[in-house]
């Protein structure tokens, strides 16, 4: 684990310090999460330390909690819808922005990225004002459209990065051999783009499923998504149920992309 150039004393000591700090930073990033996972198995009535025993009772409680189940279903549906629509729109935009030249392209590029740079509080207020101005109530549609806007920059960025790596000659070859533009896309570009699309779908799903700040503004009255439900529960007390819920969500949201990554790897492996 030695760096290439660390022969002098300051280099050796400096490198050691770098190594120690790196380990500490990784501990900093994962210790709180690990503690939450451990505490979810605590038998105690209270959410914190000390551990009084190991138990799965809080997971059982969770599955009987109507509000949590409802919030979970809401979030899943919204995330699925968002992922489907946002990926299609985003892939189209990414192709236009990488494969075509037109006036105002720079501006369009900036506009598409903008939602990632504007604070969510402002985006949240903006959409609410729009609804107020148009005299419309807050609805699920608003929530989904809002999530699509929030996730769009990430789809475009991920797909663009991959598109730049796909040589144009493949598409040109197909076109010169008589395939029309749609067939070229279906037979050449799309398969090569698949890993990025899988990654984008998963990314959008997690962005939507995880979103809290904007959702607090946009949700219809009385509706809770998973994160807003957790926030509401936290305001009452730090119950062990929240730890169990958190752990379950970690398993889902970390497991899903890892699975997706593996699928993407297999897909791209088969093509080569």
């Amino acid at each position: 684990m030695q760096p290439r150039q660390a022969e002098d004393a300051s280099g050796v000591w400096g490198w050691r310090a770098v190594k120690i700090v790196t380990i500490l930073v990784y501990i900093f990033m994962f210790a709180p999460i690990l503690v939450t996972v451990i505490l979810s198995f605590n038998a105690s009535m209270f959410g914190g330390f000390p551990m009084t025993g190991v138990s799965l009772q809080w997971y059982g409680k969770l599955f009987q909690n109507e509000a949590v189940l409802r919030a979970f279903k809401t979030s899943i549906w919204i995330a699925l819808l968002t992922a489907a629509v946002c990926t299609v729109i985003g892939v189209m935009a990414a192709i236009a922005l990488t494969r075509h030249e037109f006036r105002g392209k720079q501006w369009m590029n900036t506009l598409v990225i903008l939602p990632a740079l504007v604070p969510e509080t402002i985006l949240g207020v903006g959409l609410l004002l729009l609804m107020k101005w148009a005299n419309q109530p807050r609805s699920y549609l608003l929530l989904v459209l809002g999530h699509i806007m929030l996730a769009l920059p990430f789809v475009v960025l991920v797909v663009q990065a991959r598109l730049i790596g796909i040589k144009r000659v493949y598409e040109e070859a197909a076109l010169s051999l008589g395939a029309n533009r749609f067939n070229t896309f279906r037979e050449v570009t799309l398969p090569l783009l698949m890993p990025a699309i899988v990654a984008a779908v998963l990314l959008v799903f997690t962005i939507s499923f995880d979103n809290i700040t904007a959702s607090l503004f946009w949700r219809p009255p009385g509706v809770e998504t998973m994160p807003t439900q957790i926030l509401a529960m936290l305001k009452i007390s730090i119950s062990p149920e929240i730890n169990a819920l958190g752990t379950l969500m970690i398993v889902i949201t970390v497991g899903l992309p890892l699975l997706g990554g593996a699928i993407a790897r297999i897909l791209s492996g088969n093509r080569q």
Binding site: M29, G48, A96, R99, G126, G246
Partner: protein
Amino acid sequence: MQQTRFAWYLLAPAIILLAVLLVLPIAIMAIYTFYEFVTAGVEKANYTLANWQEFFTDSYYHLFLWKTARVAAITALACAVMGYIPAYFIWMTSFRHKWLLLLLLIVPFWISFTIRTFSWIHILGEQGAINVTLKTLGIIDSPIQMLYTEGAVIMGMIHFLLPYMILNVYVSLEGIDRDLLSAARTLGCTSAQAFREVTLPLSLPGLCAGLLLCFVLAAGSYVTPQILGGNRDALFGNLVYDTIMEQLNWPMGSTLSIVLFVLLGIVSAIYSRYMGLSTIFKGLSR
């Protein structure tokens, strides 16, 4: 010509969506700042400067602005220090499982932000890991108040923003030609000098991109102060939320949103003038 039209067809759904959901609302917001607030949820379209006057004269708002800027700056700087070192390590190490270190940086993006934030309650709280450990060891008698303070808010934000910083710096480091380092060493630089004279300046774009991103995201935060802060630790985002969702004062809420939007826009504009925003996009797409 036909090519161009096709490109616009492809872009149309995204552009229409953003025009209606992003550009139009901000325009409405700008108009609303001149509306007159009558009572909760009711406003009149008499064009008035009252909201702006209130914002510019009431020190209550200035205090919030200042506190938010301070907290965001501390957070961004702490992220820079805590983020540069691991990025440097990952770049330099000959460790075989480097991919694992990189993967571990991505994993936090997948874990719910809400859960990551509230997990700090178990570290800093009265029944948290630190207090319980210290009490068991007999070092303290009564728990130290760490949760629901500004420090806890900053800690939570660092925890959330650190991966952005590390990835930004790492992308920038990856772009450095290693031969430059060998050249510097051959020409008699110590490793410390080589770092100072070659590596650090060349990785500055990534570091600055990370600083901007962390500052902007921290300054716009709403949930972290909600979960980890006390009443006194509310930031500008909380002020906006309360003004609109609790007081139903839409004109003032719009004014505050526009202020935040313009200020953060200025910060980003100054940045892109000197650095170009492309570095940030590179960092974001990782």
